[in-house]
């Protein structure tokens, strides 16, 4: 049953920023050595010798924001196909080579970038890098595999519609961001993926899977100098320049546009999924920490205001959270919850009231201190695993942020003041100027929606 539970919340989790923190100054990264290959690939080797494992993560600027117009989902499809045939090896041979040594390799495409993630026993570092080098540098994109994978992705997009939470989160971002390259789901739509071909995949690969701008992190029970020699041998031959016009257009803030209400009509729903939010700022915002702390007061942890009012005091939901998603060229803010159809309006009103309150009233010193301690106390858990460390290294480097961000994290959280919090709440958390998206049984709940504006109703089977 664990998978079901995973599906139910995956969409919500996707929006939550990393929660983190320890006593100020207590966080220390293991030693890390940085190299740059002649082709521009940045390489970081971090020695972390707790368990005999090694994580290898390669970040490439090939996220869905780079999808060619009309080919939404091409980045994701290309990523999935890397392991389906490379350097003359078939998909079966690649899977066999990885798995016979207990290894795992997956390609994960997001909006800004894609990562190729490997995890191996440390003694298998050279074999792991050899396989990863082949799939990244020399994918073959066999036609049969391309066709099969297209069919699978289309079927998965259809299947996701069975999950109200996933549907709500996908359609919330799509409705919120309009025609921006961040708007469409990473895996695209049924028609866009259905129209893809091997040629389009190959073209995308050649434009976007290039060493310039790519970042490779190796973290684990390895010797840095020896590991670098292997990396160099496998990745030195990677060629290619980043294609022109690779920058993602800035996401314009939507101010003073009023409220819009979108309803996805799922006629058998007995529970309503609720998303409320607006566009927000990029990852490089100077307000990163004030936003992190203010959001945590509103919707992080079990004692956040949303959790307290919606779940604890009223028993309206099993979960209520909020979160900022900061991307390279902009971001978005959302409140995420769900409740039985009968209490839909009550839950929306309670959520909006809490957003309004955090704008109108300054957070007390006590509540702010509690929240800061929560964030900093948990931060060490965010750097425990090799995969966590590799993720910090590649993501920070992609955004141009030095790695000492991690060690300074807790001190920066501690610096946030009540004035900072109120200022960013007023700038980034909206009440009358927002999108409300629901996945619900429209006939059953429409009488509750008065005063929220005219609903744009989309039948579930029209969602592609």
């Amino acid at each position: 049953m664990k998978k079901m539970l995973f599906l139910a919340v995956a969409a919500m989790l996707a929006f939550l920023p990393a929660i983190a923190g320890a006593e100020t100054g207590a966080v220390k990264l293991p030693p890390c050595t940085e190299y740059t290959l002649k082709n521009g690939l940045k390489v970081f080797i971090m020695e972390s010798r707790e368990v005999p494992l090694v994580t290898i993560q390669l970040l490439v600027g090939a996220g869905s924001a780079m999808d060619d117009p009309g080919a939404e989902g091409i980045a994701n499809l290309t990523g999935r196909l890397l392991t389906k045939g490379a350097a003359g090896l078939s998909a079966d041979q690649i899977a066999g080579a990885i798995e016979e040594i207990g290894g795992v390799v997956s390609v994960n495409t997001g909006r800004d970038y894609a990562t190729v993630d490997g995890d191996f026993l440390a003694k298998d570092l050279a074999r792991g890098l050899d396989i990863m080098g082949k799939v990244v540098l020399s994918p073959d994109f066999p036609k049969d595999d391309v066709d099969r994978e297209i069919g699978l992705v289309v079927a998965e997009i259809q299947g996701a519609k069975e999950q109200p939470s996933a549907t709500a989160s996908r359609e919330f971002v799509r409705a919120l961001l309009g025609d921006h390259p961040y708007a469409h789901p990473v895996d695209g739509s049924e028609p866009s993926v259905g129209a893809m071909t091997r040629e389009k995949v190959l073209d995308f690969y050649q434009k976007r899977y290039v060493p310039a701008g790519a970042i490779l992190a190796v973290v684990g029970d390895v010797d840095a100098a020896k590991a670098f020699d292997i990396v160099k041998a496998k990745f030195d031959g990677w060629k290619g320049e980043a294609a022109k016009a690779a920058a993602i257009p800035a996401l314009a803030a939507k101010k003073s546009v009023g409220r819009s209400l979108v309803v996805i009509n799922k006629t058998d729903a007995t529970q309503s999924q609720i998303r409320i939010g607006n566009v927000s700022v990029a990852r490089n915002t100077p307000d990163y920490f004030p936003l992190l702390v203010t959001n945590s007061v509103l919707g992080g942890g079990f004692t956040s205001r949303l959790m307290d009012e919606i779940r604890v005091n009223r028993g309206l939901s099993y979960g209520a959270r909020s979160g900022f998603n900061h991307l390279k060229a902009g971001g978005f803010f959302g409140v995420y919850t769900y409740t039985k159809n009968k209490s839909l309006r009550e839950t929306i009103d309670v959520a909006l009231e809490q957003v309004k309150k955090i704008r109108d009233e300054k957070i007390s010193d006590t509540e702010l201190a509690k929240t800061k301690r929560y964030i900093t106390g948990l931060f060490p858990f965010d750097i425990e695993r090799n995969g966590d460390l590799a993720g910090w290294i590649t993501d920070l480097t992609y955004h141009g942020i030095p790695l000492d961000f991690v060690e300074g994290y807790c001190a920066n959280v501690d610096r946030v003041t009540p004035d900072d919090a109120q200022r960013v709440a007023r700038e980034q958390m909206w009440v009358d100027n927002d999108l409300i998206l629901l996945v619900t049984n429209y006939d059953e709940v429409k009488a509750q929606l008065g005063g929220l504006g005219e609903a744009r109703v989309i039948e579930l089977d029209q969602v592609k």
Partner: protein, 455 residues
């Protein structure tokens, strides 16, 4: 079947780890120095049982300045009866809603304001609670947990509001989930006698009727130190931690040991089938075969078989159903670890233009092939390497280590089995795998749930 319910959506992250715990250990192809370091002959932990029966296991790990503290109770949905199904999981929720010293809302408020995170989960066999926190708040966490073990309030107002929360959890994970509804149907179909047949989250009609008195009685029966295990792993000094454990837990009174489940599921006399009609995009099947309890020696061969069938894209199910035949989007298998005999479950989602029947036939074809011809030496070696690597992955965090210790205590009565189990995986042969395939994958031993998508 590992039907786990946790306290909140974020707990699901932890459930992912639990999957690793449930299929643990095995064998690295060539033991290296590094492997010896991570897996010594004996786990370096201190064990003490208090006078009230609470078993305490402490293991130092100073790699990061954090601690993970767990309490496992030997209670789960198997201990329920019709009329109060879901009460184990409901008590799990109520354990965060106030006790004698720390009233309603205090547990989370105090813990989070001290930089800690807590969650919990309930399965058929156990209920477990944990906090992850910075090293300097260990005493506070011990105080908070011992308070609710000693004197849970079950405040009437919170009984009502928390039941609302649990019903929303049920609506989310079962009533509005195709997958959840399928698993619930499979349980009800496969078990005619044993309590594993009802859902851990409970039937909705029982959630409507459970009273505060039911909860008080249930809590008194099962939430006693002699029915619990306390585990602390992380950055602390054992001597000091043990003194704190005595200070706070010694005064918790023990109770009469609860009765264990008596019912044994009778042998299934023939194939069972059920349908779930629901609006859905694609056909889907669940097939469950009865297999023995976790302490059976056959479990290790069944786990190896699970890896051969469904771990990764070189597995038999993926290669046949997803790649070669192109009839499925997803094809998985899971051998349950449970105290009583449970199920080996196949879970297949068909492509929208294919049928459940095609998928079912393909699964049976693979099982017949293994029953007739066994698995290859390469498949056996691969599975053993995968199990070994997954073991290390589950031991990367203090939380993962404590969780593994607790689950092994529940299943085997001794966490040192963690290392003995390694040898049992190494001892599995291709013949063993062939034998268990013949023993358990007989048509009359299976229950099949088919999703019939409605428009």
């Amino acid at each position: 079947m590992h039907v786990l319910k946790s306290r909140a959506a974020r707990g699901v992250v932890a459930l992912g780890l639990f999957v690793l715990v449930s299929v643990p250990l095995a064998h690295a192809s060539a033991p290296s120095a590094a492997e010896t370091k991570a897996a010594p002959a004996k786990l370096d932990a201190t064990v003490e049982t208090l006078k009230n029966g609470l078993k305490v296991i402490l293991m130092e790990d100073h790699s990061v300045p954090v601690v993970s503290r767990w309490t496992f109770y030997r209670v789960g949905s198997e201990n329920e009866r019709p009329g109060i199904t879901g009460i184990s999981h409901f008590i799990e929720h109520m354990m965060f809603n106030g006790a004698a010293k720390y009233g309603p809302k205090e547990f989370d408020r105090i813990l989070e304001s001290n930089g800690g995170y807590s969650n919990a989960f309930t399965s058929e066999d156990m209920t477990a609670y944990y906090e992850d926190f910075a090293s300097d708040v260990l005493e506070l966490c011990i105080d908070l947990d011992s308070d609710r073990m000693k004197s849970l309030a079950l405040d009437p107002k919170f009984v009502v509001s928390e039941m609302g929360v649990v019903k929303e959890e049920r609506r989310l994970s079962v009533d509005n989930s195709v997958e959840g509804a399928m698993y619930e149907e499979l349980g009800a179909l496969a078990y005619k006698a044993h309590p594993y047949g009802w859902p851990v989250i409970g039937w909705m009609s029982d959630l409507e009727k459970i009273t505060r008195e039911d909860a008080v009685n249930y809590w008194k029966t099962y939430y006693a130190p002699n029915n619990a295990i306390l585990i602390i792993v992380g950055d602390f000094e054992t001597k000091k931690a043990l003194a704190l454990v005595h200070k706070y837990y010694d005064s918790v009174p023990s109770q009469a040991p609860p009765e264990r489940v008596r019912t044994v599921e009778p042998e299934q006399p023939g194939e069972r089938r059920a349908e779930v009609h629901k609006p859905a995009e694609m056909p889907q099947i669940l097939v469950g075969y009865h297999i023995p309890e976790v302490t059976s020696n056959d479990i290790y061969a069944l786990d190896i078989l699970q890896y051969v069938l469904s771990e990764g894209e070189s597995s038999r199910l993926y290669k046949k159903l997803v790649r070669d035949l192109g009839i499925a989007v997803y094809a998985g298998a899971n051998a349950s670890w449970n105290i009583a005999p449970a199920l080996f479950i196949f879970d297949v989602k068909a492509r929208p233009d294919k049928t459940a029947a095609e998928c079912e036939t393909a699964v049976y074809g693979i099982l017949a092939d293994i029953a007739a011809n066994g698995i290859t030496p390469a498949e056996l070696a691969k599975a053993q390497n995968q199990v070994s690597a997954n073991f290390y992955r589950s031991m990367q965090t203090v939380n993962g280590k404590a969780r593994k210790i607790g689950t092994y205590e529940i299943y085997f009565g001794d966490f040192n089995e963690i290392l003995k189990v390694r040898d049992r995986y190494r001892a599995v042969t291709a013949d063993d795998v062939k034998r268990v395939a013949n023993t358990y994958f007989a048509p009359k031993n299976r229950s099949v749930v088919t999703l019939v998508p409605e428009a």
